[in-house]
Amino acid sequence: MTDRASFMAAVASTPRGHDPGLPDRAAAPDAPTELRAGESPLDRFQTEAEAVSTIVERVDAAGAASAVAAALEAAGAGAVAIAADLGDLLEPVREACRSAGLQVDDYADVAPERARAAALDATVTGCLAAVAATGSIVTTGATGRAAALIAPTHVCVVRADQVVDGLHALVDGDVLAAAGSMFALQSGPSRSADIEKTLILGVHGPGRVHVLLVV
């Protein structure tokens, strides 16, 4: 069995090549995953998210909970789990779903039973952040790794102040400190083009992703 010391010794025993040094993170060149000068982050988020088949709807804070219930009904959902990261919206969303006749559970209660989690029609979560330039939402281990993934429909509530400009702003920012054991960028429904390059949505993750952008 190779231990750490002998493994590292093999790596360290070779001569060093030329080290060009690390580029300064502040001087990053323009990339497709960054916001362009003068662009509105919310507009770019919507454009990019829609380009990868996310449904994006702008709502105001007062209408957010009922918009969630409407999004679930539009997806034909019956059994729904809601995640704790909805914060202030948790109670209003629960209420709105109940009055819409949906069966609502907390994701944390459902998650330990894999089979039950897999039988959900939809999940509703908040997010840690959203990335304008890529149309991504950021989900975390703290909220639940599979919370935005396990059901055919995912409804995500994004507050306008959670939208960061681009990938750099996300990975350099402090926001990830609250991620827990992992974070993930999710950009639209699950997709595959393995069979003769035909694009299919909803392979393993949700086939329907509905973002409610609270402005």
Partner: protein, 485 residues
């Protein structure tokens, strides 16, 4: 909660597995190199007209998408920066590896060290045996192909289910992936339909949506009953001890979320110094890999389920694979370690586009396969692959981290001649290349002329078998010209 050993229900989605599904007839990464030559494998693959059209269509699509994606951005500057980050990470690999291991362990990840392929197999099989793992779900991992992990696990009586749609088909057919990004590029919808219908025991509708639905249902069952998830990793982040992984289907996310154990098998060269480097490397990996802005899922995994988290694996293990990598550090071929496995060099390679990934005989195809195979598997096995190229330079042009594949291939040819394993004709031909090589301007002119000459000789982009100097190469294949930007 089902943590039982589901051996007895050797079925997926309530359906019995077809013969050969649980134990693929043809093990990926096995000894096919030793048994056949590139020429034989190329001949075999050229006899499949669908494959050639499919590869051309798919790779063209990806290359155009890539060009559109970076239009109007500082693409070249981004690539320069990426090259610098990769070069810095690789020249300082000992430091960053130590740092990564410290930080990963501090976050509760258990780190294991595999000096070679056999050790990687032993470690993963051992982890599974100790923990009573009966079924494993896997998300696509080239490192696991490198070490032939599936056959080792199956030999130990473990049910292994590939969950990437393409890899699932590959496994069920007893086949091997033919492209790093698109594993069943060489298979038709009809073949998938036939396979899935046989598995279902009924004639499924012959459309991609229904076929995908069939696989999804069966694979969901596998996810729910698996004890361990095995993944690869696209990047290791030294600063944080994290593993970053990109997928589109979401199987990678489920593999690392649902089973109680997560094992990632990752080559040591995947190192990035900082999290911020993801902002440079990710758009290049996904843009050059598929033409996407970003893949649907990017997971950055920093340990097992944390206190108070509602789900996630109880244990996270990372098996660091050397497997011939450390031997390249500081040497002539070190830059091969900069590769981020985007597959773009395959897409533009006129040889790959004709013969497909299987002709390369091992895990990696195309220019990077022609470089890595002899370096990881030895000259005797893979050395001839350095001749499975036209040296047209299309791969250099498209590589997101600017690996001089063309120089590496020439270096491998030189080495093959020096080690005296090449046939005489090859050694003589090489001398001419060598002369030109001493005068780079002459050399570049000669390849430019060769390309222009080919363009003249080509009809409909296909070069016939009459091209002077290419006789040996073109004897078994027509040559489609590489697309240059």
């Amino acid at each position: 909660m089902s943590a039982t050993t589901p051996r007895e229900d050797a079925e997926v989605g309530g359906r019995p597995l077809p013969p050969g599904w649980a134990a693929p007839a043809h093990q990926p990464g096995a000894d096919s190199l030793a048994d056949t030559t590139f020429e034989e494998r190329a001949r075999e693959n050229l006899a499949r007209p669908f494959q050639r059209t499919a590869i051309a269509n798919a790779t063209d699509h990806t290359v155009f998408a890539l060009q559109r994606r970076f239009a109007g951005t500082a693409h070249d500057a981004l690539r320069d920066e990426a090259r610098r980050i990769r070069a810095h990470a690789i020249t300082n690999l000992p430091t960053y590896l130590e740092q990564w291991v410290d930080r990963a362990e501090a976050r509760g990840t258990q780190v294991h060290f595999a000096a070679d392929e056999a050790e990687a197999r032993r470690i993963v099989a051992g982890l599974c045996a100790e923990r009573g793992v009966g079924r494993v779900v896997k998300s696509k991992s080239m490192a696991s192909e490198e070490v032939s992990l599936n056959s080792a696990l199956e030999g130990a009586g473990i049910d292994v289910v590939e969950t990437d749609l393409g890899e699932f088909v590959v496994q069920a057919m007893g086949d091997r992936p033919s492209h790093v990004i698109a594993p069943i590029l060489h298979r038709t919808q009809g073949e998938v339909h036939e396979l899935f219908s046989a598995m279902a025991g009924e004639d499924l509708p012959d459309d991609p949506e229904a076929l995908t639905g069939f696989a999804r249902e069966g694979l969901r069952h596998a996810f729910l009953t698996a004890d361990a998830g095995i993944s690869g990793g696209n990047f290791l982040i030294a600063e944080t001890g994290e593993v970053a992984m990109v997928t589109n289907e979401g199987n990678g996310r489920l593999t690392t979320s649902l089973p109680r154990i997560h094992i990632a098998l990752v080559g040591i060269e995947k190192m990035l110094p900082r999290r911020t480097d993801l902002a440079v490397l990710l758009p290049l990996l996904t843009g050059h890999g598929t033409g996407q802005q970003i893949t649907t899922y990017v997971s950055v995994l920093g340990g097992p389920r944390g206190a108070g988290e509602p789900d996630g694996p109880e244990e996270m293990h990372v098996v660091l694979l050397d497997g011939g990598r450390s031997a390249l550090l500081g040497g002539e071929f070190e830059e091969a370690l900069h590769c981020i496995r985007c597959g773009a060099c395959q897409n533009v390679c006129p040889v790959y586009r004709q013969v497909g990934g299987h002709a390369y005989g091992w895990v990696y195809g195309g220019p990077i396969g022609a470089v890595l195979t002899p370096l990881f598997r030895g000259q005797a096995d893979g050395g001839e692959l350095s001749h499975a190229t036209t040296l047209c330079g299309a791969c250099d042009d498209i590589c997101p981290v600017r690996i001089p594949l063309h120089d590496l291939l020439l270096g491998l040819r030189r080495r093959r001649v020096a080690e005296d394993v090449a046939p005489l004709s090859e050694r003589l031909a090489f001398r001419a290349w060598g002369l030109a090589w001493r005068h780079p301007a002459t050399y570049r002119a000669s390849t430019a002329v060769a390309r222009a000459g080919l363009a003249v000789l080509a009809r409909d982009g296909v070069v016939s078998r009459r091209v002077p100097g290419l006789a040996r190469w073109t004897a078994t294949r027509d040559l489609v010209l590489g697309r240059r930007r």
